[in-house]
């Protein structure tokens, strides 16, 4: 004889659009994976945005367009500089799988990180379908032993995530060193060489004139 306490009904996600992001930080770039799982109650809303020609199939073009939209709805900055996420891969379930509440869309992207100081601050914002979203965002433990995570901060909904990390083997953040560490240092060296060459030529010309 089995008696029930409570009546939990369904085995699948209902009225939320779960969006879990895992971020991996390297020296020159970051890589991330977003797993998007629509609940069955919000599936129709989402499907209208993905299957735009409503033919019941998520075509390659529709997949590309939706992945691009997801990336557009993200905002990424490092030390205040905006980053451009680049799509690496995308995987879409069938409409039937999504309808059943078990369909996971997976999008992988990367972004190049400009050179910076030892202490870095990455800010990640996700605005995709914010009315129905259940966001989750985490950082993977860096594979590079030179990178150490210092702090993670989020707002309550996890739509805003701030990651602070320290990169060993990088000079301090002083503006001079930051300037030296950039590509501009090569331009400066080239300018100095040209000046020296010009000074030598002038000196040679002067000596010849005196002779």
């Amino acid at each position: 004889m089995i008696l029930l306490a409570g009546t939990p009904a369904l085995a699948h996600r209902l009225d939320e659009y779960l969006q879990g992001t895992l971020i991996s930080v390297e020296k020159n770039r970051l890589q991330a994976q977003i797993t998007l799982t629509p609940g069955v109650a919000v599936f129709q809303v989402l499907l209208a945005e993905i299957d735009t020609d409503a033919d019941g199939v998520i075509s390659e073009t529709e997949q590309r367009a939706y992945a691009a939209r997801v990336l557009r709805d993200l905002s990424l900055t490092i030390d205040g500089h905006p980053l451009t996420p680049r799509l690496i891969s995308r995987q879409f379930p069938t409409i039937q799988e999504m309808q059943a509440g078990r369909g996971e869309i997976q999008i992988e992207f990367s972004a190049d990180l400009p050179l910076g100081g030892a202490n870095r601050r990455l800010i990640f914002e996700n605005h995709h379908f914010r009315q129905i979203a259940a966001y989750q965002v985490n950082c993977l433990v860096p594979r590079d032993p030179d990178i150490r995570i210092a702090a993670q901060n989020r707002n309550y909904s996890q739509s805003l995530y701030q990651l602070e990390y320290v990169q060993a083997g990088v000079q301090s953040n002083s503006p001079v060193l930051a300037w030296c560490s950039s590509d501009r240092v090569w331009l400066g060296a080239l300018a100095l060489l040209l000046c020296a060459r010009f000074a030598l030529l002038m000196k040679k010309k002067k000596t010849q004139a005196m002779a």
Binding site: A5, P8, A9, A11, E16, R102, N138, Y156
Partner: protein, 338 residues
Amino acid sequence: MKTKYTHRISILALFSLSAAMAQTATSRIVSAANTFLSTLDQKQRQSVLFAFDDGQQRARWSNFPVRMVPRAGLSMGELSAAQRAAALVMISSALSTRGFEKVRQIMAADEVLKHNEGNNPMFGEDLYYVSILGTPSATEPWMLQFGGHHLALNITIAGERGVLTPTLTGAQPSLYTVNGKTVRPLGRESDKAIALLNALDESQRKQAVLSYRLADLVLGPGQDGKTIQPEGLKASAMNERQRAMLLDVISEWAGIVHESAAAARMAELKAEVNETWFAWSGPATVTPGSNIAAYYRVQGPHLVIEYAPQRMGGDPSMHVHTIYRDPTNDYGRKLTSK
């Protein structure tokens, strides 16, 4: 019918236990596995056996019901009563008494759910699958998998070592009554964790309680081998009593596997308890006798445990998913890589 069936399993389990008193844990599991295989016909053997390194089969587990995410192997419903009893004896031989009881309660919860859903064929005890990867052996590595809705046991056996990661447990409903007795398959996981939270002082609690909402598992199915940055309160900032309570929480997962493997695993986890973190998100109160509605995570260098109540149109404390991992040793990779 059900009582007779349970009786039969109990007698078989007792017989197997007494006959195996002098055996090592692994030889006992191998013997039970071979007994189970001997009950199968050729076609069934083909269905239940996989190559040890079959990556697809290893990863074919989920919290979803099998009608939503199909499993491979043989389902309980496909087996005769004798075969089913032999399968359950094999599974019980790889688990502790407490661990096997938890598994049976998770399966019973799914039977309750089936009943609750108007005999919905998506749920029920018949829909749990068994599979064997490799050849049962006392010396060579092999794997035993058992799972369905809210259950995925991945047991790697390598000599006398037994590895239970990754393993998923869950329950819906996570509180039900059978013959007037309240059953909570994941009740101890809930009770021990809130007891630990309540044992923390204000400053410790501030560190342990995360300021954001967690809707689900972070490292659920499909996230093998990943390690996220730990958060919350580090056990090095706990006192001895609190650390012992944390280890007691961990034992609810580490102790599912048979006693000698569990003891080895607990010794490993105890040695690095100071490097282990405890994080909590959600309500910090609970009605006595009920389950918590909060998410929590325990994470160490070789451990990830997540307990995640599911908000799916009802009371989140009644529907729980949990995951138990060693990201450095999923499917016993450390023991089996040559």
